[in-house]
């Protein structure tokens, strides 16, 4: 019953001071709106850049790391052995994975792996006339690679399917095509470091909107790449795997690591530079939005402080007729929370509208529409922080109100 009186009083205060309520709520609205907008923006960019990363990177990459030559005498042999001068250098041994079929099978059988594909990556030169460009060609199992990178969706001309069973076919990046002014159907000579020269026919051009990959990468059949590497049909340099959750890639990589001596890198390791930039951006964005939220909370604090100073008489009367300190805190805290909630609700709406309109903006180029999406988590956190901040901002003045001494007020 008493709780209802407190609420009743709080509501009356709110309703009789609509302007102050509006001003305080508006501060929160702007704060929350900005919070949601900025965070959705960041999340959108994050999602966008991740999509870009996964156009050319698998979640996990298994490969043979460059090894250094080891001393012939193991150092564990101890003092009895004479130390032999050695010259550590990268081994020239092949980059091949041993028994790739079995490893691929094991990787595929991991419960968290969605797709896995073998790959033969060979460093090559692309030659046309006198011009030559360095790059890397990926020997792929066409369907498996497409399942992973959705190469078909990146094709700008020709078709990935023309590569199917066509050992002389090649799909090249758009940048490479432009630099060597190559067109669909024309021939291109590629040479590997093993001295193999192959004349390939361009059956398709792709663009992953990634300059590095568009300028240097090409796709050929797995066996064609094996020929370039002068290797047999079991030769595989990399196994790529996608998982159910890219965020857990690190955890998955350690699990796969127990199966194989080869290096298992999650995509975060391969793209560490990109991710650190993203981290800095997130910290900046969070700092900005939290400051705005703080300012909004300070607005509520200010208005509640003012309200309480103006309502000293009322507080004294309420205490005289039997309201205790807790009741007074409840009354004024309720007012802050109502203002906060109104502000938060409007802020959710404003943030939502901003996202809605921005997501309709066509930026053109590779990005298409502006990469901003509705993230329920951002809305949830925004509401949570908003209510939390306004409650805290309201609590301090309410505490002050509860400590008002009625007699001092009545004597004035």
């Amino acid at each position: 019953m008493a709780i209802n009186v407190n609420l009743d009083i709080a509501l009356t205060h709110i309703l009789t001071r609509k302007r102050q309520t509006l001003v305080a709520s508006l501060g929160v609205t702007i704060g929350i709106g900005m919070y949601i907008f900025m965070n959705s923006l960041m999340a959108g960019f994050g999602q966008y850049s991740r999509k870009e990363i996964f156009k050319t990177n698998p979640h996990l990459r298994i490969f043979r790391e460059d090894e250094r030559s080891e001393p012939i005498y193991p150092s564990s042999a101890g003092e009895k052995m004479k130390r032999v001068l050695i010259n550590p250098a990268l081994t020239t041994s092949s980059k091949a994975l041993n028994n790739p079929e079995k490893l691929l099978e094991m990787v595929r059988n991991m419960p968290f792996v969605t797709t896995a594909a073998p790959q033969v990556n060979v460093d090559v030169f692309y030659n046309k006339g006198n011009s030559q460009r360095k790059g890397i060609t990926n020997g792929i199992n066409i369907d498996a690679a497409d399942a992973m990178f959705n190469i078909r969706s990146t094709m700008v001309s020709g078709s990935l399917d023309n590569l199917q069973g066509n050992l002389d076919g090649i799909v090249i990046g758009r940048g490479l095509a432009e630099k060597l002014s190559l067109n669909l159907g024309e021939n291109l000579t590629i040479s590997s470091s093993k001295g193999v020269l192959k004349i390939m026919k361009i059956v398709g051009v792709f663009s992953a909107n990634n300059k590095n990959s568009d300028d240097t990468k090409s796709y050929i059949n797995l066996s064609a790449a094996q020929q370039l590497a002068r290797e047999g049909t079991t030769f595989v340099t990399d196994i790529y795997a996608n998982t159910i959750d890219p965020d857990r890639a690190a955890e998955f990589s350690t699990q796969i690591q127990t199966l194989t001596p080869y290096k298992v890198d999650p995509w975060q390791v391969t793209n560490a530079d990109l991710l650190s930039g993203e981290k800095i951006r997130d910290v900046m964005g969070n700092t900005v939005t939290l400051s705005i939220l703080l300012v909004a909370a300070f607005g509520i604090y200010n208005i509640m402080n003012m309200t309480i100073t103006q309502k000293m008489n009322d507080i004294a009367i309420l205490k005289a007729i039997g309201f205790n300190g807790r009741d007074i805190v409840r009354i004024f805290l309720t007012e802050s929370i109502i203002m906060g909630t109104l502000g938060v609700l409007a802020g959710l709406l404003v943030g939502g509208l901003c996202i809605h309109f921005l997501s309709k903006v066509y930026v053109g180029g590779p990005s298409g529409y502006f990469p901003i999406y509705f993230e329920p988590k951002v809305f949830g956190l925004g509401a949570f922080f908003g209510i939390l901040a306004t409650s805290l901002a309201g609590y301090l003045p309410a505490r002050k109100a509860a400590n008002v001494d009625p007699v001092t007020i009545f004597r004035r």
Binding site: M1, A2, N4, V5, D8, I9, T12, H13, T16, N313, D314, A316, I317, L318, K319, A320, I321, G322, F323, N324, G325, R326, D327, P406, V407, F410, R411
Partner: protein, 226 residues
Amino acid sequence: MPEPEVIITAQKIGKYFYEPEKFKVLNDVSFEAYRGEFLTLVGKSGSGKSTLLYCLSTMDTDYEGELFIASEKVTGQTPNQLAALRNHSIGFVFQFHYLLPEFSCLKNVMIPALKMGKYKAAEIEERAYQQLDLLGLKDQALKPASKLSGGQQQRVSIARALINEPKIVLCDEPTGNLDSKNAQIVFDIFKKLSTENQQTIIAVTHDADFAAASDRIIELADGSIL
């Protein structure tokens, strides 16, 4: 005649003010008030009447001596206990008619009862109307308190003090702003409360006739009972 029941016992209530310099406003005031008694408190301006009333109301706890209400020691109780005690046992009418300005007169009267939570809101409203009617304010019930004249506001605050049927009603110059007709109404109500409902009234007054018609007069001079 049965022994009258003591409702308030003040034992050597002493009170100091420290501004502008230390001086003793209440000088070991001791008295008893009985159930159903209509007491008036008189004395020159500045003699400490209001200060004593604030101590009796339990709002001022910064005093020496001891205070008992209904043979329960009040001195030293927690603020929450005192708030509850004020809510159901003490009605207070302030010297300067303090109402909550944003609320209607009716709501002002209802709030202490809503706070007590003993009756349903509809019953409380009904009773608040009756109180206002008794004080000749029924037609003002739904007006905002701030729209009333001083005298009307004072009567609303009397209705508010009475709504919870407190054992004790403390009034600081309750008729100060009232014309003689309304002062008479208030006097009659107090008289009736004390005789019929056995409520104890302690009223500060400057009105000699009002005091003379009460059951007992306590006169204060420089913080001491004469």
